[in-house]
Symmetry: C2
Subunit: 134 residues, 2 copies
């Protein structure tokens, strides 16, 4: 997960693109391999148990799932509820704050869905030229 950086370099008036800025911090947090997938799953389905999540995000290791969930929980985006039964049962769900993040995430998703073809096309053009030039 993102290393926790000091905000020493930050400017007083937030420049969205300066180092140490909120959006960079956000990207550092959700730009990892599993965060948005977890956020997405929880957003779709509501409360979800650890193993359920692991199965839905097939491919994730227990270590990474735990790590991702802990980070999201730490940031107040996900709530973790432990039911003291045996065997223990733990449920994860989006917090209200986590819910609000779905909006900008959706904007990003929509952009990518709408422009994916263009990006892919650009890649092919670029790679073709690269092939010519070595």
């Amino acid at each position: 997960m993102a290393t926790v950086k000091s905000v020493t370099e930050a400017t007083s008036s937030w420049d969205p693109y300066a180092r140490g800025c909120p959006s960079r911090d956000l990207l550092d947090r959700i730009g990892d391999k599993w965060s948005i997938l977890v956020l997405g799953e929880l957003g779709k389905q509501g409360p979800c148990r650890f193993t359920q999540l692991r199965n839905r995000l097939s491919g994730v290791s227990e270590k990474m799932l735990t790590q991702t969930l802990r980070a999201l929980e730490r940031d107040g985006l996900v709530r973790r509820t432990v039911y003291p039964v045996v065997p223990v049962r733990v449920e994860y769900e989006l917090t209200p704050l986590g819910q609000t993040l779905r909006v900008p995430l959706k904007a990003l998703t929509e952009w990518s869905v709408r422009h994916l073809a263009e990006v892919l096309a650009a890649r092919e053009v670029y790679d073709a030229h690269a092939g010519n030039k070595g």
Copy 2:
């Protein structure tokens, strides 16, 4: 930069949160350390030369700046123009496609600015508890 993954596992109807989905690809691309900063700078100022960019994104190495710019260029988000003068002059600018990405990026930025305090507060609470529990 993101490893280029096969899309073999993708479902036919795009699930925004499934692996290999457009939004994941997008996050893989712009979730790195410099892409959104470069996008942001170019969005703010229009055409910009290599060294100008390097100075504005103070802290970036030439290698990373080149790598980031190449990736963005490959994806059709940034245009690279070489002026065959001596010494050579290269200008970078957002393509129309790159411009459209500023909208969802702005949504993300606004979210982070608006909710940063909550996230930070949540972290402190979490870390305080972690201290208690070991």
